[in-house]
């Protein structure tokens, strides 16, 4: 129980948000980039594909213009930083360990399949919608770009809608037996 309490110690959310806001400003100021995630995933995908099938990547109209740069992009280096930053924080807070994050009543196997499925949807959605929660929505809103607000309303609006259908994945009611 005490162990768990320690693992659940987080920084103040307003402080976290403030720092995140400053980082977005810095990303635009220094590099003229938004703070994104899915763009880096795309760049790594392109680099992998280019290693496996170079002729294909040059003929594919979606990625051909990005093949030369490959994974040598600002967004990829930013993601590399994310890995380090997350590890540093997890070490400081004593959270660095192998585990499966899930509600107690969900089996590990089920959670892993659901995570995989959710990931696939994100892979498609980010490419179609031009970014994810950080790049499209948060960084877009930081500039008051209309795209950011469309992204916000769409991701969270539909999220709330779908949440009704999948409530049992995340919480159990007190009155029901676990």
């Amino acid at each position: 129980m005490k162990e768990q309490a320690k693992r659940n110690r987080y920084i103040n959310p307003y402080l976290g948000g403030f720092i995140l806001g400053i980082l977005i400003i810095a990303a635009y100021y220094f590099s003229s980039e938004g703070l994104g995630s899915s763009g880096g995933f795309r760049d790594v995908s392109i680099a992998i594909l280019d290693k496996v099938a170079p002729h294909y990547t040059e003929s594919n109209t979606y990625i051909s213009a990005r093949v030369e740069e490959g994974a040598h992009t600002w967004l990829t280096f930013e993601l590399l930083g994310v890995i380090f930053g997350a590890i540093i924080s997890a070490v400081l807070f004593g959270r660095l360990k192998w585990s499966v994050g899930k509600a107690p009543h969900i089996t590990k196997k089920k959670r892993l399949y659901l995570a995989l499925t959710g990931g696939i949807l994100w892979g498609i959605g980010t490419q179609l919608g031009r970014g994810c929660t950080s790049g499209l929505v948060l960084s877009g809103m930081a500039l008051n770009s209309l795209s950011g607000y469309f992204g916000l309303i769409s991701i969270f609006g539909f999220g709330f809608l779908f949440a009704f259908l999948f409530k049992k994945l995340w919480i159990q009611s007190k009155n029901k037996k676990a």
């Binding site: 307003y14 948000g17 720092i19 635009y28 590099s31 980039e33 280096f77 997350a86 949440a163 159990q172």
Partner: protein, 206 residues
């Protein structure tokens, strides 16, 4: 005057800055609890207020900061990669992402932080993201090409589009953000006192 890249910053330093900013980004995500998939999903059910507070505080901070810096002539935000709006694919893609969020319990940035700190479910999520991206690339020409380019509106500033002053919009957004914090705090409290099993409360550390 910003943005410094590409005019005043060489490409190698630019990548280094990306790496450093990434470190901060990953740190904040982990330290705020964004590697905990249940805290993330909590935004949709109201049993956890972390996401809404971090997210909107970041938006308000960046919005105010960039607005003032633009006013003062420290940065020309239209010289940055100011995103173009394609409203149709963003709405449809957003719906797919919303579904993915509720089912998968992560978004790309949070999944990378979580995977880095040992969350095995996040590794599966990331594998899924790559599968999805590859699938998109392979089917782009006949499935997505036209849809992705539809609804093009160019670079659109939201307050301008609404026909109000940007400063006024930022003020209104800030008020809405603060209201959402109050509402979520009440919502979390409702879950805690009435509805949530003790096992869940312990697990979430509420």
């Amino acid at each position: 005057m910003g943005p410094l890249y590409p005019e005043h910053l060489n490409p190698e330093y630019n990548l280094l800055i990306g790496f450093l900013i990434g470190i901060g980004f990953g740190f904040v995500l982990e330290a705020s609890g964004f590697t905990n998939t249940r805290k993330l999903a909590g935004v949709f059910y109201g049993y956890d207020a972390t996401v809404i507070k971090v997210f909107f505080t970041a938006a308000v901070t960046a919005m105010i900061g960039l607005f003032l810096m633009h006013q003062w002539g420290w940065i020309d935000i239209y010289k940055t990669f100011y995103p173009k709006t394609f409203w149709i694919p963003t709405l449809i893609g957003g719906a797919i992402m919303g579904l993915g969020f509720v089912i998968g319990g992560f978004c790309p940035g949070t999944s990378l932080s979580a995977a880095s700190t040992g969350k095995i479910d996040a590794w599966y999520f990331i594998a899924g993201v790559f599968i999805g991206i590859f699938g998109f690339i392979f089917t782009y020409d006949f499935l997505w090409k036209n849809l992705r380019a539809s609804g093009a509106m160019g670079k659109v500033n939201f307050p301008q589009w609404l026909g109000i002053k940007e400063g006024l919009w930022i003020f209104l957004f800030t008020v809405m953000a603060i209201a959402s914090y109050v509402i979520y705090d009440k919502w979390v409290n409702w879950w805690k006192t009435n509805r949530l099993a003790q096992e869940d409360i312990d697990d979430l550390g509420l």
